[in-house]
């Protein structure tokens, strides 16, 4: 590299560090800028950044190598990422993959000789209802067919040099019919709930949420009011409200719809939470795969600032200052785990922390922090506007209220739907035209595979908990293939810090390959199932604890189908 190029590079980095702040927390945003601008992160860059942020170069290296969207290797101007997750697989991703390889003349993981294209796999792009999905730089394509691959690549080729990788993109997404959703009514002016809350004492807000019985919509189902109460109790001038928009669970895309159609509701919910716990800063942690949503969200935030709904003296409440910033993820599913998310925001590898302490006590930068899901925040203004009682009366005793479901797979109507919690799988299947399903995956890759015999089970925290991912498997689906797809996902997405998850997923994946070849004895399968139990009990975080779920439930329910198969090798 020429001296002048290096100087220019250094100048850019200094500029970005100034923009994001000269502390470790800005490491990932700065790296993302470098990645976007230069296509890779060189050793020289890592050393400069380390020097400026006063950390060790190997720490930068360690972070860069953790995130899928950051890398050392030079990538093409167009990074083509094909979703390989189950829903897209069921909709023919394999043929699209083949065509991409044929058309570009490279394999996955490679870059074309002219440096124009890099071909990569992606894990769940949140377009499960309209797969196969393809991400080209920040632009998303859905329902891709082998035929359209050619057009997409041609479009890139013809625009090469006209719009670079930075270009904000047109969207090619099928709209979700949201007309009947509660959000449509409440979210109409983007302030109804917030105005309501600002007339209330902070403790009354928490009480109202408590009465509604709202539980975390990300899937874990922790009572929202309790989380807020704990954070409110801690004495600290600096508290954070973080919105977990790292929607990465295979088969989940309802947050994408909220972020697209109801961002105001989410921001309202954040402001209300801030008022309730006494926070002055909000952060939306938006997954890197949703970068195309960033500009609209930024615009929305600006609009809210102009309308006095963010900034100082929010909604006219003297002394209540609250603003929200958007921070991007960089391609790591595990960052959906709240402590991993916080680590990531602090410029670290997205590795879940030991708990206790919990974020409500020691969160972002050591300050009390609440992390809630996009949908959880969106329900908050609805509850305040329509009343806690309204929400409480819907659903079951312990799983109150409505829930958005992301439904994909072998059914007539894929998409996002609003139903009360407590709905049975059978009822759901009837509504979306999936009555002939032989199994349903509830809760994504981390969830459970439910056979037809159990379709009367309810989707609720006390029975089948889910963040909203429902994947329907028709009568012809190969369930071992499904299990393999899920394990492949975890094999890539485990953070790798704890032994049971890091090695356990690998062993189970190898076991599935043995099953495919007809080489797995019943005895070894039992060993693997026990290993799965250990992973559930002894892993450090929710990812490891749930990663064997799909495998275990598929083995349990479809053992005959799987053990009886004829070896592929034959």
């Amino acid at each position: 590299m020429l001296v002048s190029e290096r100087e220019q590079l250094r100048g850019n980095i200094v500029k970005w560090v100034e923009q994001y702040g000269s502390n470790r927390s800005s490491l990932i945003p700065v790296m993302e800028e470098v990645q976007r601008e230069y296509g890779h992160i060189s050793e020289y860059v890592m050393q400069i950044v380390a020097d400026i942020l006063d950390i060790h170069p190997v720490e930068v290296d360690s972070v860069v190598s953790f995130y899928s969207f950051l890398g050392h290797k030079s990538k093409g101007r167009f990074i083509v990422r094909l979703c390989r997750t189950i829903s897209c697989e069921m909709q023919g991703k394999e043929r699209v993959a083949q065509q991409l390889e044929n058309d570009l003349g490279i394999r996955f993981g490679e870059t074309t000789a002219n440096g124009h294209f890099t071909l990569e796999w992606a894990n769940c792009l949140g377009m499960c209802d309209q797969g196969p999905a393809l991400l080209v730089n920040e632009r998303i394509y859905t329902q891709v067919t082998p035929e359209s691959v050619h057009d997409i690549l041609e479009e890139c080729r013809s625009t090469f040099g006209v719009y670079g990788p930075n270009a904000q993109t047109v969207m090619d997404i099928r709209d979700t019919d949201t007309s009947k959703m509660t959000f449509t009514g409440v979210g109409v002016d983007g302030r109804m709930g917030q105005d309501q809350a600002m007339g209330m004492e902070p403790s009354a807000i928490i009480d109202a949420i408590e009465e509604s019985g709202l539980k975390g919509r990300g899937g874990a189902g922790f009572p929202t009011s309790l989380k807020w109460k704990l954070a409110a109790k801690v004495n600290d001038e600096l508290k954070y409200v973080i919105c977990n928009a790292d929607e990465g669970e295979p088969g989940t895309f309802k947050d994408r719809v909220i972020l697209t159609d109801f961002p105001d509701l989410m921001f309202e919910g954040m402001a209300i939470a801030a008022r309730a716990i006494g926070a002055i800063k909000g952060i939306v942690y938006l997954r890197g795969e949703y970068t195309y949503l960033r500009t609209r969200l930024e615009r929305k935030l600006e609009e809210r600032r102009q309308n006095g709904l963010l900034g100082s003296n929010v909604s006219g409440v003297q002394g209540f200052d609250f603003d929200v910033e958007i921070r991007m993820g960089a391609g790591a599913y595990v960052c959906g785990e709240e402590t991993a998310l916080i680590e990531s925001l602090e410029g670290q590898r997205g590795e879940p922390r030991n708990r206790p302490p919990f974020p409500v006590n020691t969160g972002f930068m050591g300050h009390p922090t609440i992390v809630n899901n996009v949908e959880t925040f969106a329900w908050v203004p609805c509850i305040l506007v329509k009343g806690s009682n309204w929400f409480r009366k819907i659903g079951t005793e312990t799983s109150t209220g409505l829930k958005l479901f992301s439904i994909s797979g072998d059914c007539r109507e894929q998409g996002v739907f609003e139903y009360p919690l407590g709905i049975t799988i059978r009822e759901l299947l009837e509504k979306v035209g999936g009555e002939d399903a032989k199994a349903v995956q509830v809760g994504g890759a981390a969830g459970h595979c439910i056979p037809a015999s159990e379709f009367d089970r309810a989707i609720a925290f006390e029975d089948l908990a889910t963040g909203g991912s429902i994947i329907v498997f028709g009568p012809d689906r190969d369930m071992l293939g499904v299990a393999k797809n899920f394990m492949e996902f975890f094999l890539d997405e485990s953070c790798g810090q704890c032994t049971p998850c890091r090695e356990g997923n690998m062993r189970i994946f190898e076991g599935i390959e043995m099953l495919e070849k007809g080489e797995c004895s019943m005895k070894y399968l039992r060993e693997l199932c026990q290993l799965g139990e250990t992973m559930q009990m002894a892993s450090k975080c929710g990812l490891g604890q749930s990663s064997p779920n799909a495998f275990l439930s598929i083995i349990e329910n479809f053992k005959d189908e799987i053990m009886g198969r004829v070896s592929i090798a034959c």
Binding site: I55, H56, S494, P500, R507, L531, T534
Partner: protein, 640 residues
């Protein structure tokens, strides 16, 4: 000014410091909590971890990633226990007790999980125990035995995945044996603040990396070897030259001389099953003769020599600054006997190289003296002499291979052996070290002084230097100021220690230094300010304080040791290490010092002799500069 009082230098997130930063968690340690572990009742202060509580009760919970010196990771999961009412098992090392709990440490679930975790580690652990230097001293192996592992449930690799990194003079990294407990990472980044090792990639691709995954030789590794001492398996070890040493011993044409540093004597017993803190100095002499070494010398002689040269250098710097008003003289003067520290400075604070004493370390001084003075005295051709240095240190291996360390006209020190490697050689020779009769060191260097001995502990170099400076400059006995000549303020394990010594009266200039100054009157009324730091994380704090013009910048002389505890905690010492083990070794060293008749470097008759016979123009003169002093290399931290 930088915050010297800050004790938490860790970069680890707050949550991983549970046992050290309860304040951050809002845990009130004054609250006592009564809980049950395996039905035993125990009361502990709030914030105590389950592991600590269990240990207090005498209940054994296995650990791998946990280490007393390091912040909590909670990643290996071998220490999981069952807490009544909780669905998941919890890592006992990472779980602070804040409410009464009912804990079970060996239920079916716990045993199954631990066994599986071991099985999983073994499914990725390439290598055979009998071909591993940690055989019989491996935490993974011990646990496999403890948990009755008698087959590889999930397989065992039959091919290596990684290439062994043998690029460094000091360390060998074999990532095939790594179980990703991250002790080395926490050692390198948190404990030592060097920042060579981190975890790279994720999931099953995770591995401990250097920057750019480069060989150790090409990164900012200072060779301190602290990672070796904390590695539970054989993934990290020192670069072992013992085969070459045996070959030299077996070669009748070679005259093989070994010098032994003070710290290995205080530690080597641990390799033979003794409690830490049993010195085997004179038993070792006999064992070394049995092994076939031709001469056994005491590095303490060279330590005394270092004190004279380095102390004189300090006095000369002071003279230049105070009398000649030369403001280019660099202060504070830094000690240079710890090669890990020297390389740390060369990488991270190269602008401060002028502050480093030019005096070589004792090891290197001795090497030069053996191949010049000793060779001459005995009429041996220095090319036939092989000098071996027994050191508690892995960085000494790098030091003796520095290209400039050839002032005798030959490689001054041919091989650096660690305590562990020598123990291995001794047992290979069938010698039961603790049972050996005692014998003395060889002449002409004989047995040195107590000042040389305490070089092994943090603060020892400073104490030795002060003993001599007080007597040579003030003309009084150290004992007049400090009982038994024990300069207590510079002892101990606190990270950074300060001491001020007012020079109220001066004495006559001793003969040894008459060639340099006429009198000491210019020092009368001055106050000598000194500091001591051990572990490079503390060294960093001192350096940053100097940069910021803080308290440390006012010092005249600072002792730095790269390793926590000083040489007795060196990277070549027996494994394991812990604060208690290091304390026991320190006790042994100070006891040995107290037992010596001569305890001050300048009173060592062999020192007087060498200045009379060989370095006749005295300390810091032309001859000593040529042979006993060196220069350094500004390396910087950027890797091209």
């Amino acid at each position: 000014m930088s915050d010297l009082l800050k004790t938490d230098t860790s970069r680890a997130p707050g949550s991983q410091w549970i046992h050290r930063s309860h304040y951050a968690l809002g845990i009130d340690e004054s609250v006592e909590i009564t809980l049950h572990i395996d039905d035993k009742e125990i009361t502990v202060p709030a914030g105590t971890t389950i592991l600590e509580a269990a240990r207090k009760t005498g209940i054994r919970i296995p650990t791998l990633c946990y280490h007393e010196d390091l912040c909590v990771a909670g990643v290996c999961r071998i220490c999981v226990v069952e807490i009544e009412g909780q669905k998941h098992l919890e890592a006992s090392c990472a779980y602070p007790i804040t409410t009464p709990l009912n804990i079970k440490t060996h239920t079916r679930k716990v045993r199954m999980a631990r066994r599986h975790i071991l099985d999983l580690m073994l499914s990725e652990h390439y290598g055979e125990c009998y071909a591993c230097f940690r055989n019989n001293n491996c935490e993974l192996q011990s646990l496999a035995r403890e948990y009755g592992v008698d087959f590889f449930r999930f397989g065992h690799p039959d091919k290596p995945r990684y290439k062994v990194d043998r690029s460094s003079h000091s360390l060998v990294r074999d990532m095939d044996k790594c179980i990703l407990c991250r002790r080395c990472v926490r050692t390198c980044i948190d404990l030592q603040e060097v920042g060579v090792l981190e975890v790279g990639n994720r999931s099953c691709e995770s591995k401990v990396i250097t920057f750019g995954d480069k060989p150790l030789r090409d990164v900012v590794c200072i060779n301190c070897g602290q990672c070796i001492n904390r590695c539970p398996t054989g993934a990290l070890r020192a670069n072992d030259p013992s085969d070459d040493v045996w070959a030299a011993i077996d070669d009748p044409a070679k005259h093989v001389v070994i010098q032994t540093a003070p710290s290995p004597r205080a530690g080597i017993g641990e390799c033979f099953g003794l409690e830490p803190g049993v010195p085997l100095t004179f038993e070792m002499n006999t064992a070394l003769r049995e092994c076939g070494f031709d001469k056994i010398f005491d590095t303490n002689f060279a330590a005394d020599l270092t004190i004279i040269e380095e102390g004189t250098e300090l006095l000369l710097r002071l003279y230049k600054a105070l009398v000649e008003k030369d403001d280019s003289v660099a202060f504070p003067q830094f000690t240079s006997c710890s090669p890990g520290w020297v390389k740390y400075l060369e990488h991270f604070y190269p602008d401060y190289i002028p502050n480093l004493s030019t005096a070589k370390s004792p090891q290197q001084m001795f090497g030069t003296v053996i191949k010049t003075y000793y060779a001459g005295l005995n009429g041996i051709d220095p090319k036939d002499i092989v000098t071996v240095a027994l050191m508690p240190c892995s960085a000494k291996k790098f030091e003796c291979n520095r290209p400039e360390m050839c002032d005798s006209g030959f490689k001054d020190v041919d091989y650096g052996l660690t305590t562990r490697e020598l123990a291995q050689m001794i047992s290979e020779a069938g010698i039961d070290l603790p049972a050996m009769p005692k014998s003395d060191f060889d002449d002409p260097f004989g047995t040195a002084t107590g000042s040389g001995v305490i070089f092994g502990a943090t603060g020892g170099v400073m104490e030795a230097a002060l003993r001599s400076v007080i007597e040579l400059v003030c003309g009084i006995k150290v004992e007049d100021l400090f009982e038994h000549a024990d300069i207590i303020p510079v002892r101990g394990f606190e990270g950074i220690r300060f001491m001020e010594l007012p020079i109220n009266k001066v004495g006559p200039v001793p003969d040894l230094l008459k060639h340099l100054v006429d009198d000491w009157s210019w020092l009368e009324g001055a106050t000598l300010k000194v500091a001591v730091a051990h572990g490079t994380a503390n060294a960093k704090r001192v350096m940053d304080d100097i940069k910021a013009g803080g308290k440390c910048s006012e010092c005249h002389f600072i002792e730095f040791m790269a390793c926590p505890g000083g040489c007795l905690g060196g990277g070549g010492q027996p494994i394991p290490t812990s604060p208690a083990i290091r304390e026991a070794r320190a006790k042994a060293i100070y006891a040995e010092d107290a037992a010596y008749e001569i305890r001050k470097s300048h009173e060592n008759p062999a020192i007087a002799k060498i200045y009379n016979e060989f370095l006749t123009d005295g300390p810091c003169s032309h001859a000593s500069h040529k042979l006993l002093h060196t220069h350094y290399m500004p390396r910087g931290k950027y890797i091209v």
